[in-house]
Amino acid sequence: MGNKPNTQSAESHLTTPTRLTGAEIVWATLVGEGVSTVFGYPGGAILPVYDALRKFPIHHVLVRHEQGAAHMADGFARASGKVGVCMATSGPGATNLVTGIATAMLDSIPVVCITGNVSSKLLGSDAFQEVDITGITLPITKHNFLISKTEDIAHAIRYAFQIAQSGRPGPVLVDITKDAQQGTAIFDFEAAKPRPYRPHPMLKVEDAGLTKAAELIRNAKKPVILSGHGVMESQAMEQVRTLAERAQIPVALTLLGLGGFPASHPLNLGMMGMHGESWVNNAIQDADLLIACGMRFDDRVTGSLSTYATKAKKIHIEIDPAEINKNVKVDVALVGDLRAVLEDLLPRISGRDGSAWIKTIEASKGDVSVHDIKNIPDSGHLYAAHVMHDLWRITNGEAIVSTDVGQHQMWEAQYFHHEKPRSLVTSGGLGTMGFALPSAIGAKMACPEKEVWAIAGDGGFQMTAAELSTIVQEKLKINIAIINNGYLGMVRQWQEFFYDSNYEATPLVSPDFVKLADAHGISGRAVRTRAELAEAVKEARTCDGPFLLNFMVEKEDSVYPMIPAGSALHEMIRRPGKNPIVESPDDK
């Protein structure tokens, strides 16, 4: 960022309309939108934009694969709540973004992607590196723009920022032809403002609905709050907490909702769904009222719909009208911004005695914890659950953790207890392997003062491992934990449970990750027993630079409990009473 001579003039563009090239307009508009970091990768069709970068106070992070750029922008947004920005060239650069864009779309993350395209007269001609990226990304963006005129660039980018952040957030792509980047136009930041945000016309929070909701809450004997990602997006943490405390209602969280309600809060039941603890899912199945806050009844949290919470009335507070009655038919729909709705609802809620129901749930925990792997004494084996538990303890749960997808992701969700919003960065909706490392980079860039851990499986880590060099080039202090079980573990688990242990295509040969880190100039060490764990984590944390820990965990361990896809929420595979692989090593 050293030589940025015209930084001052870059800012004066925002107040005085000036003639600029399209390329300059891209950066000037981003500056105006408050952007300081862009993740990207150059190429012919975006070169004019890159050429103009030196004049603007924006830090560009050179990634190693454009998928990484999209995930970094996504991680940046998840950790900070701000819009993440990524950039790529036409053709293969643009198509490499696709998985990252879909990841952001499925989890409602505000990301703006800027791509270059061939000159406007070549559009549709199969010119070198021409691809119809607006066509390709149409179903995986909230909206996208194809811009072929210099004078339209500023408005499109400003509009993209508005769309990405408003209502239910999501990714927006702006594709700009090379001639539009090269042409000039008067840049007038103020005039390029989009029309005022138009809320979805089907938002509806009526007095009658609020009254009905309050009445249902008042009369409920067994209510449960289902707290989702919307709690974070709408910044409704306080309101959900007030509702829970005032009416003494236990709270179950979705995977993306973790951190939205403090893990240590006595009313926090924990994560619901496919790998939720039995008492959480049983409470939902027994409930007489569900209050869904900013969540969408995804199949991973409902199990089979026909058997889902059949005894419960349902209140759904949600900003996206297309989610109402999509999977679960609800009794009261309060369609609006969660925080605003709760603020209207709370004055109608009075104190309630919830102790009987809470005691019932407490009693239903039974001896679950006895079988919990976390409580099994050190047998000399290293279990991923122990790794997560100890990491959580050692970091005081203060770190931002980004995970990959698979068993380790679920163990993280079960054993790393998130107190604060935006402390877990994970791909829930799309379940994108390769997400952990790049999204951790984005999170670290957004929150440089925070301790950041990327936790990945041996499989997913190898999908985007090239970003290790990005970490080095950017001099980022990121700790990496590889949960190395020698398998595509989650798929192996499904094969074990549902395909007669036919481990087809799941055993995995990996490089020596510590040596791989070393080749990048990153320190690291392997951890084979629980006894070494604390010391290794301490070494990672105190090391000035990035550090990689290769946790050699039990190979054929499984995540429990588990609800087989399509089964009822209460039909879970419980932890084995006596976990065969936990027996003493001598038995082998």
């Binding site: 149409l138 179903p139 909206h143 979805h200 089907m202 996206d320 009208p321 009655n325 999509k326």
Partner: protein
């Protein structure tokens, strides 16, 4: 059930793809689609007919609204409405057997809009069943129909109706409410 969506969309490139893509993704067939300019500058009006479950209607409407270029959406199959379709039908006819077709055209209140020694073209406006009726009768005589071009359905609610969304936008036509009694009339002034 049949859903008839009437939508106001921005008149810019790519909007139709976005609308069509939504139905494609849901694996729902669009049985009829008409698009044209509306009373508002820069806004096109489209009428889209499809078969989908009754619960799907709200969700499709909500999803249509989520498209940035869609301004207003109405699902009006169940509301009192006027629905019309335009058809152009070219039939083989020589001076010797034309008279019979002229009679048919008369009965169906259609019009002849082109006439040559070997063919003629019929223009007809009406509800779907009426157009299908004429086509069916013409089909009885094999080889007679040469071409059929149908516009697809166009639909408008009966009575004074302005969407609250369009109303809020304000730049609509003069808004004079109809007299009270007239609001509920469902008399079809021109029988279909």
């Amino acid at each position: 059930m049949t859903h008839t969506f009437v939508a106001y969309v921005e008149d810019i490139p790519g909007v139709l793809t976005r609308v069509a893509s939504l139905f494609r993704r849901l694996n729902i067939n669009i049985s009829s689609l008409t698009v044209g300019r509306s009373e508002r500058v820069g806004l096109s009006r489209l009428t889209l007919v499809c078969e989908a479950s009754s619960e799907a209607g709200d969700r499709i409407r909500a999803s249509l609204y989520k498209l940035e270029n869609i301004v207003d959406v109405d699902d009006i199959a169940q509301a009192p409405n006027v629905t019309r379709e335009l058809a152009l039908i070219k039939v083989a006819a020589t001076p010797r057997n034309r008279a019979q077709i002229f009679d048919l055209v008369e009965v169906f209140r259609a019009r002849i809009v082109d006439l040559t020694s070997e063919s003629l073209m019929i223009e007809m406006t009406g509800v779907e069943s009426k157009i299908e009726g004429l086509i069916e009768i013409l089909r009885e005589d094999e080889g007679r129909i040469l071409e059929v071009c149908r516009s697809g359905k166009m639909t408008m609610r009966r009575g004074h109706h302005t969407s609250s969304v369009l109303k809020a936008m304000g730049k609509g036509p003069d808004e004079k409410p109809l007299p009270e009694e007239a609001n509920d009339t469902t008399v079809d002034i021109e029988p279909a």
